[in-house]
C-alpha cells in the first residue's frame, strides 16, 4: 500500500448526498479482472454525455478541477455495493482524499486499503470547505495525517478523527495481510481451540 503523510492540492466540490457506488463506477466497468485503469469510468453517468463527450457541467470536467486530489462531498458517500472498484476508480483518477460528513462502512474500509484517506467532518464545516473549494484552482487545501488536520485556503484548520491503527498503516504504507500473517501462531491456536469446542464448525459434505 502507498503511504500517505501529507497531501496538498485542489479540492473538487460535489455537494450531493447518498452518492452510491453505482454512480461512482457503473457495472460495465466491473467486468475487469484488474485493479488499474478504472479512472476513466469514474462518475461515468454524470461525467460523460450520451455521445461519449465530456459533460462540461460536471465538476471534474471543469478546468480548475481536472487535477483535483481531494473531493468534498455529502452525507453517506459510497453507499451501496461493496465493489472496491469504486475506491480503485477514485484513486486511479488521482483523488487520494475524500471529505464528507459520513461514508458507508464498506467503502470506508476499501478506500483505506488502497492508500486513500477519508475524512469525516460535521456538515457545517463541510459547507464551509465546499464554499472555499468553489473558488477553483487557486484554492489549495492541505492535509496532514500526522496532526489530523485539514487546512483550508482561508488558513483555518479543521481537525479530524481517525482510528490509530488505520492511521499507522496509512502513514507507513503497511501491507495489512503481511501484518496479520505475522500472527499466524495466534490464529492457529484460536482455530484449534474453537474446533475442539465446536466440531460442527467444519462444513459437512
Amino acid at each position: 500500500m502507498r503511504a500517505l503523510k501529507e497531501l496538498t492540492g485542489v479540492a473538487a466540490p460535489m455537494p450531493m448526498i447518498n452518492v452510491d457506488t453505482d454512480m461512482i463506477i457503473p457495472k460495465q466497468y466491473l467486468k475487469t479482472i484488474k485493479r488499474t485503469g478504472l479512472g476513466k469510468g469514474l462518475f461515468h453517468e454524470m461525467r460523460y454525455n450520451k455521445d461519449g463527450s465530456d459533460n462540461e457541467d460536471f465538476v471534474l470536467n471543469k478546468e480548475a478541477y481536472r487535477e483535483a486530489k481531494i473531493l468534498i462531498t455529502g452525507d453517506n458517500f459510497g453507499c451501496g455495493s461493496s465493489r472496491e472498484h469504486a475506491a480503485w476508480a477514485i484513486e486511479d483518477f488521482g483523488i487520494r482524499c475524500v471529505i464528507a460528513p459520513s461514508f458507508s462502512d464498506i467503502f470506508y474500509n476499501n478506500a483505506f486499503k488502497n492508500g486513500m484517506l477519508l475524512i469525516r467532518l460535521p456538515q457545517d464545516q463541510i459547507d464551509d470547505l465546499t464554499e472555499q473549494a468553489e473558488y477553483g484552482a487557486n484554492a489549495q487545501f492541505s492535509i496532514d495525517l500526522e496532526t489530523q488536520t485539514v487546512t483550508a485556503p482561508d488558513g483555518k484548520t479543521h481537525r479530524f478523527e481517525i482510528d490509530e491503527f488505520r492511521k499507522h498503516c496509512l502513514l507507513n504504507g503497511l501491507d495489512e495481510i503481511a501484518l496479520t500473517l505475522d500472527k499466524d501462531a495466534s490464529i492457529s491456536s484460536f482455530e484449534q481451540s474453537k474446533n475442539n469446542e465446536h466440531r460442527w464448525l467444519t462444513p459437512a459434505g
Binding site: P26, K31, D163, W200, G205
Partner: protein
C-alpha cells in the same frame, strides 16, 4: 457476566487478537466468493505466493455475470466469459469448491449459502458483496467486504474489524394479510434512512420477526445494508433449526445436537445494552413501493409521488428533485397511476421458493398486461427445479412470464438482462439507484406479490385491492 447482545456474543467468540486502539482481528468461519470481486484478490495471493488458509471454509459460485438463457453452449460476452473462466481457474488452483454455471446448485451467492447449509447460526460469514447481510437471518454475523478484504480472508481466515454499535429494531404486532417481509424491510429503511444504520449492526426482534419464515428473515436482513448497517441479524430459533436440518453442509449426528444446544444460547440477554433502539408497529405497515432512486424513498402504495418542496433540508430537496427528474415522475401523481413496462422477479432479496409460490398464487389464472414484459429469475438451480416440480413454473409461463435460468440477472444488469433508457420496472430487487438495472432505467422496488400484481394490471397496484376484486369468491 454482563448482559450481552446477540452481536456481542458472536463478536466475542471470534476475536483472535486486539490492537491497542481496539481494532480486532476477527476469525471468519464462512467465506463466499463470486466472480466479480474475487479475481484481483486471487491475483494478489499469487503475486505474494500465498495460499488459501482453509479452502474448506470457502465456497465459490458464479452469479453476477451469467446469462439467464440456455448456458449449455457457452457464454458470448467475452468480458463476462473471462471473469467466469478466471474464477474457475482460481478455484481450481487454490483448491476451493466451485459451482459453475452448469451445476444445479449454482445460483445467487446469498441464496446458495443457506440452501446448502453452509451458512450457520453463530458463525461469521463474509463475501465480497454488500448483500452478505442476508445470512444474518440465521443469527450469523454476516457482512460484505471489499476485494482487499477478500484477499485478507483468503490468506488468513481473519479480518481486521472495529466493533460496530448495537441497534435494535423491535417490530411489535403482526403484519396484516398481504404484507410481507419486503414491505417490512422497506418500511424500516423509510424510517431510519439509508444512513440510519451506519456504524451499527442491527438485531431485528419482536413478534412480527419471530413469525417470519427463514425466507422472510433473509429478505429482511438482505436490505439491512440499504439502511446503512454493517449487518442485520435475527436470533436463531426452531424455525431456523428446521430450515437447516438435513441440508448438505449442515452438521450431522452428534455435531448437529451440539450445534443446536449452542445455537440456543444465541440471543440477546435480558437487559443487554443497545446504542440505538427503533420501535416499529407491524400492524400499521401497508404495501410499500419506492418512488425515487434511493431505497429510503419508500412509501405506502396508497400515497402520491411526494413534492420535493416538502423535504426537510436543501440537500434532501435537491436529491428528491433529481430523483423525480430521473424517474420521470410528477409530484402529486397517485402511485397507483404509474404505468410500468417491465417486471423483474428475482435477486437475492426475493427469488426463493416462497417468493415464487407467492407470485404464482397471485398470477394463477391471470395474464400479464399486454404492454408488460415480465421475467422471473429463480435464485438457484435448486429453487428452479423445485418450482418446476410444484407446477409454479407452469403457472407463470401460462400467465405470460418469461422463466429464466438462475443468477443475479436484472438486479444489476451485468448480463444481457437490462432495462432500456426510460423503461420503468416493478422489481423485487433491493436497489433503485440511477442506472442500476440498465442505464436510464427506472426501478420501483416492491414485494414479489406487489410485482406480480403490477404485472397483471400493468401499473403499480395495491395488492389488497387486487385480491378483493380478482380472487375467486
Amino acid at each position: 457476566m454482563p448482559a450481552k447482545t446477540l452481536y456481542d456474543k458472536i463478536w466475542d467468540a471470534h476475536v483472535v487478537s486486539t490492537e491497542p486502539d481496539g481494532t480486532c482481528l476477527l476469525y471468519i468461519d464462512r467465506h463466499l466468493v463470486h466472480e466479480v470481486t474475487s479475481a484481483q484478490a486471487f491475483e494478489g495471493l499469487r503475486i505474494n505466493q500465498r495460499k488459501v488458509r482453509r479452502p474448506e471454509l470457502t465456497l465459490a459460485v458464479v452469479d453476477h455475470n451469467v446469462p439467464t438463457t440456455d448456458r449449455s453452449k457457452g457464454i458470448d460476452d467475452p468480458d463476462s466469459k473471462l471473469q467466469i473462466d478466471t474464477l474457475r481457474d482460481n478455484t481450481e488452483e487454490f483448491g476451493v469448491e466451485y459451482y459453475n454455471e452448469q451445476d444445479i446448485r449454482q445460483g445467487i451467492v446469498h441464496v446458495i449459502g443457506p440452501e446448502q447449509g453452509f451458512t450457520l447460526p453463530g458463525t461469521t460469514v463474509v463475501c465480497g458483496d454488500s448483500h452478505t447481510a442476508t445470512h444474518g437471518a440465521f443469527g450469523a454475523l454476516a457482512h460484505g467486504i471489499g476485494t482487499s478484504e477478500v484477499e485478507h480472508v483468503l490468506a488468513s481466515q481473519t479480518l481486521l474489524q472495529n466493533k460496530s454499535k448495537n441497534m435494535l429494531v423491535n417490530v411489535t404486532g403482526k403484519l396484516a394479510p398481504g404484507i410481507t417481509a419486503k414491505d417490512l424491510t422497506l418500511a424500516i429503511i423509510a424510517t431510519t434512512g439509508t444512513a440510519g444504520g451506519t456504524g451499527h449492526v442491527i438485531e431485528y426482534s419482536g413478534e412480527a420477526i419471530r413469525t417470519l419464515s427463514m425466507e422472510g428473515r433473509m429478505t429482511l436482513c438482505n436490505m439491512a445494508i440499504e439502511g446503512g448497517a454493517r449487518a442485520g441479524m435475527v436470533a436463531p430459533d426452531e424455525i431456523t433449526f428446521a430450515y437447516l436440518k438435513g441440508r448438505p453442509k449442515s452438521p450431522k449426528g452428534d455435531d448437529w445436537d451440539n450445534a443446536v444446544e449452542y445455537w440456543k444460547t444465541l440471543h440477546s440477554d435480558e437487559g443487554a445494552h443497545f446504542d440505538t433502539v427503533i420501535e416499529i408497529d407491524a400492524t400499521t405497515i401497508a404495501p410499500i413501493v419506492t418512488w425515487g432512486t434511493s431505497p429510503e424513498d419508500a412509501i405506502a402504495i396508497t400515497e402520491n409521488v411526494p413534492d420535493p418542496k416538502n423535504f426537510q433540508d436543501e440537500h434532501k430537496q435537491s436529491a428528491a428533485k433529481r430523483s423525480l427528474e430521473y424517474m420521470g415522475l410528477t409530484a402529486g401523481t397517485p402511485l397507483t397511476e404509474i404505468k410500468i413496462d417491465k417486471v423483474f422477479i428475482g435477486s437475492c432479496t426475493n427469488s426463493r421458493i416462497e417468493d415464487l409460490r407467492e407470485v404464482a398464487k397471485i398470477v394463477e389464472g391471470n395474464k400479464t398486461a399486454a404492454h408488460v414484459n415480465a421475467m422471473v429469475v429463480p435464485g438457484s438451480g435448486l429453487v428452479k427445479a423445485q418450482a418446476e416440480k410444484e407446477g409454479i413454473a407452469e403457472i407463470l409461463i401460462q400467465a405470460g412470464f418469461d422463466w429464466r435460468e438462475p443468477g443475479c440477472s436484472m438486479c444489476l444488469g451485468m448480463n444481457p438482462d437490462r432495462l432500456q433508457p426510460g423503461e420503468r420496472c416493478a422489481s423485487t430487487s433491493n436497489r433503485n439507484f440511477e442506472g442500476r438495472q440498465g442505464s436510464g432505467g427506472r426501478t420501483h422496488l416492491m414485494s414479489p406479490a406487489m410485482a406480480a400484481a403490477a404485472a397483471i394490471t400493468g401499473r403499480l397496484t395495491d395488492i389488497r385491492t387486487l385480491q378483493k376484486t380478482e380472487a375467486p369468491v
